[in-house]
């Protein structure tokens, strides 16, 4: 690596382009800068990495048009923007996965080209991807050190040393994961921890975290933030990408906003408000939605009676009425998604019953659940919700083929008009209906999943993390949509780890902890504090 401390000539904050960008960092009217940037980076800290005016196109799609980021030693720098703003492409450029079409990458002031992921690792850049990239068949320790295993005589892998080092990393992270176990079966949060340990083991000077908190519970997020603070103290630069703006304000000192593939603003966070960021991201003001005034809920649509699956969830009973949104809150791993999957018949359960529309459902049969009028929007839309290679219209029509076919044959025209109808209703932004659904942004993909189920006119809709990884603008769309659906009399069961979302949408909130229902709140009773208290047990709650 090149010697640090030689900041390049154009190191000044790149603060350009957008006419409607909010107040800039130079504006002196920021008296209240105590909250976030207290320990903040002094402007003189060396710039360890910068991307200047990079662009990247994929075929006709211009993913990044003019992107710039500048990271200083010892700072946590947020990169925010709506989905499709070009953040992921920027990450992949830093990861060495994509080479920019134009623009420069400077590492410690030296123009650098990254030839593949190994080049990025060699340049001291570690990436923690949104979706963990582990080897399920290999041990946790091997996952951390793959390609860089400690060696002993004869270039053999020193397994004992590897275990010791992995233990030391986990100790630093304050978690207990057995380095010898295989990665398959780790919870998403633990997988994330392994990814972080991997980044730590690289002694990277730049650590990019792409939505690291999306799958984490509050406790785990707090733990991650401690790690970020420690990394900063060591002089590393952290690029933090998140849709949760509260987190950005909590942990970061500076922010870069992107919109439509362009750099919009780089600024210290002190003095900015969430509203400022959102305006910069979407280029307009976000309407703050007031809790919907829906009528009183109707008849019971969905009942779970003492559902139990050994080792996963125990004795879960609840009901959802027509026109009501019931949220299942709790930490990741509390068994919420598993309950939903059992209700929809994807997973089996050992005891208990599920009743939908007055009829008891056969165990383990999604077909039975669908016939009973249940729609299911799964947690992982890429893997479970969509067929990524198929077109938008095929995906929308997928659950309704029975009604679309004539004499057993599905005509593209019927499929198209059906899909177009729903795409308009959910305001999906797309090029052509025949484009593969993989070309859409995350938020629009989620709308396609919703359209797929709504096309069946369900009386019960189960949504699992409906807005995970979705940008602010589309998130509001999805919220409004769920509200409207409940208003139309659909019984909605929503699983969400985002408490503001739960509080905003749900009529009732059920909190799960360690596979059991721990508490139930009405909208009026619930608060972030009370839900977290129930989800974590009282102990953590008091500490908060």
């Amino acid at each position: 690596m090149d010697s640090p401390g030689t900041p390049p000539a154009p190191a000044a904050p790149v603060n350009t382009t957008s006419p409607d960008s909010p107040n800039t960092p130079d504006s002196p009217n920021t008296p209240d800068s105590t909250a976030t940037a207290d320990a903040g980076t002094d402007a003189g800290a060396p710039v360890v990495l910068s991307l200047e005016h990079v662009s990247k196109s994929f075929g006709a799609v211009r993913a990044v048009i003019d992107g710039s980021i500048e990271l200083r030693a010892g700072e946590a720098h947020a990169l925010v923007g709506e989905n499709g703003a070009g953040k992921s492409t920027m990450v992949k450029i830093l990861a060495g996965v994509h080479q920019p079409d134009s623009g420069t990458l400077l590492v410690n002031g030296q123009p650098t080209e990254l030839h593949g992921p190994a080049g990025a690792i060699g340049a001291g850049i570690a990436i923690i991807y949104q979706e963990p990239t582990l080897f399920p068949d290999l041990s946790v320790a091997e996952n951390i050190f793959m390609g860089r295993q400690p060696l002993r005589r004869g270039r053999r892998i020193d397994g004992r040393e590897m275990t010791t080092e992995a233990d030391a990393l986990f100790a630093r992270l304050g978690v207990r994961i057995d380095p010898g176990r295989i990665a398959r079966g780790l919870s998403i949060a633990d997988q994330q921890v392994v990814e972080i340990a991997k980044a730590l083991s690289l002694n990277a000077r730049v650590i990019v975290m792409d939505e690291p908190t999306a799958a984490l519970s509050a406790v785990e997020v707090a733990r991650l933030f401690d790690v970020i603070a420690a990394l900063r103290a060591d002089g590393a630069a952290v690029l933090f990408i998140s849709h949760r703006l509260e987190e950005v304000f909590e942990i970061c000192q500076r922010v870069t906003v992107m919109r439509d593939g362009r750099h919009v603003l780089t600024s210290p966070l002190a003095g900015l408000t969430t509203g400022d960021l959102v305006r910069a991201m979407v280029g307009r003001d976000m309407p703050e939605r007031v809790a919907g005034e829906r009528g009183a809920p109707g008849a019971v649509q969905l009942t779970a009676q003492r559902l139990t699956r050994e080792g996963v969830f125990t004795d879960v009973s609840f009901e959802v009425r027509a026109g009501e949104i019931v949220a299942l809150a709790g930490l990741v791993g509390a068994g919420r998604s598993e309950v939903a999957r059992a209700i929809f018949g994807i997973d089996r359960y050992d005891a208990g019953t599920v009743t939908a529309g007055g009829r008891q459902l056969r165990k383990g049969s999604p077909t039975a659940a669908m016939t009973a009028g249940i729609g299911f929007v799964p947690e992982d839309r890429r893997q479970q919700g969509l067929v990524m290679e198929m077109s938008i219209q095929q995906n929308v029509a997928l659950a309704s083929l029975a009604t679309l076919r004539k004499a057993g044959i599905i005509r593209a025209s019927a499929e198209r008009s059906f899909a177009a109808d729903w795409a308009v209703r959910l305001s999906v932004k797309y090029g052509r209906l025949t484009d593969p659904v993989s070309m859409l942004s995350g938020g629009n993909q989620q709308k396609v999943v919703l359209a797929k189920w709504l096309g069946r006119r369900p009386s019960i809709l189960i949504v699992d993390e409906p807005t995970r990884g979705i940008d602010v603008g589309t998130k509001a769309d999805v919220h409004n949509l769920l509200d409207r659906l409940a208003g139309e009399g659909i019984a909605v069961l929503m699983i969400s780890s985002e408490l503001p979302e739960v509080l905003r949408l749900a009529d009732r909130i059920l909190v799960m902890r360690e596979g059991r229902l721990a508490a139930e709140f009405t909208q009026a009773e619930a608060s972030e504090e009370s839900i977290m208290a129930a989800a974590t047990g009282q102990l953590e709650a008091q500490e908060r």
Binding site: P136, E142, R156, G174, R176, P179
Partner: protein, 349 residues
């Protein structure tokens, strides 16, 4: 937060130790399962027909199984990386004929040179496979299905209707597969050492572990900066070279070589690998397991013969065993997943 203050656990504290024991147990079950089947099978067969355990018969089984185990070693290396090499039977055939002709035409050629020729022929085929898979980015199933026919075709063209017969060799060529130490064929010992070496490489060297990583999650392997092309290419080259060596051994064992040598071996080898507990989609399994799988299939063939079962049954029984192995494998991995999940649930992760 409490979490960050959690004390660093001492190595060997109860929770991880027990899980390591669990993992050990499962891995042991994987190979011990096949060994158990093998032992039971031998015992039952021997109790019906004691001739089965005669030293001659054991030697035949071992030599035949040795050739398959060698092929299974190469195949395992490829399968672990989430690929497959269907050309091994054809490579064996080509190498067997060419080296047999070499050994019968040029008496006095040192044996190591004959082996080198076999390795060279196999390596060449493996390199072609490897280049098409890594640079051509053609799925290995397609590539090696094509080379299976191409190499067999070349073999048929070269051999024509002819064959090499045992009497034409110099004697030492035939004794390669006959010499024994304490009743165990030299060949079996040498191949066992080679397989042990392969197992050691896959377990303790970075390049070996990276093959597992590639098979376990190719996308993650790419992001980890693993030179995937080079590793996969090496796997195919090795598999080819090993098939080349197996060809020499085959010629020595059977003596008479024509253009059909090694026909449909590829499927038996893949079967042995899968029976031996190697995941067909890569990422897990061991060469030792695969070798035992090869031994098991060979033992079954021989047992059916000794018991007087019509050879017509061989294939049906091999297929049945394959399904049995896959079912066992699935049950074990389901149990493992369930127990891991229960454990993390208890831990409140």
């Amino acid at each position: 937060m409490t979490a960050t203050l959690a004390p660093h656990r001492e190595p060997g504290s109860p929770a991880p130790a027990s899980s390591r024991r669990l993992a050990d147990r499962v891995f042991r079950i994987r190979e011990f399962g096949i060994v158990a089947v093998l032992v039971v099978f031998v015992a039952v067969t021997a109790s019906i027909q004691s001739r089965f355990l005669s030293s001659t018969n054991i030697q035949f089984i071992l030599v035949d199984a040795t050739i398959f185990a060698l092929l299974a070693l190469g195949e395992t290396i490829v399968v672990i990386s989430r690929n497959v090499d269907l050309s091994v039977g054809s490579v064996l055939g080509l190498s067997a004929f060419l080296t047999a002709r070499l050994a019968s035409n040029t008496h006095g050629l040192p044996l190591p040179l004959v082996f080198l020729a076999g390795i060279g022929i196999g390596l060449l085929c493996g390199i072609v496979n490897g280049l098409m898979v890594t640079i051509g980015r053609v799925p290995s199933l397609v590539v090696t299905l094509a080379t299976l026919y191409i190499i067999r075709g070349a073999d048929v063209l070269i051999v024509g209707g002819g064959q090499v017969v045992p009497s034409s060799y110099y004697p030492s060529f035939l004794t390669i597969s006959k010499a024994t130490v304490a009743g165990i064929p030299d060949l079996a010992i040498v191949v066992a050492v080679v397989i042990a070496g392969g197992a050691y490489w896959l377990r303790t060297y970075r390049s070996g572990r990276e093959l597992y990583a590639i098979g376990s999650n190719p996308d993650a392997a790419r992001l980890a900066g693993i030179p995937m092309g080079r590793r996969v290419f090496t796997a195919f080259a090795l598999s080819g070279a090993i098939a080349g060596v197996a060809g020499v051994l085959w010629a020595s064992r059977y003596g008479t070589v024509d253009s059909t040598a090694g026909t449909s071996y590829e499927l038996q080898v893949v079967a042995a690998v899968v029976v031996g507990g190697v995941a067909i989609f890569g990422g897990s399994g061991s060469v030792v397991g695969a070798a035992i799988g090869a031994l098991l299939l060979q033992t079954i063939n021989s047992a059916l013969y000794v018991l007087g079962v019509s050879p017509n049954w061989d294939q049906a029984i091999a297929g049945f065993l394959l399904i049995l192995a896959i079912v066992l494998d699935r049950l074990i991995s389901l149990r493992l997943t369930a127990s891991l999940r229960r454990r993390s649930a208890r831990r409140g992760a």
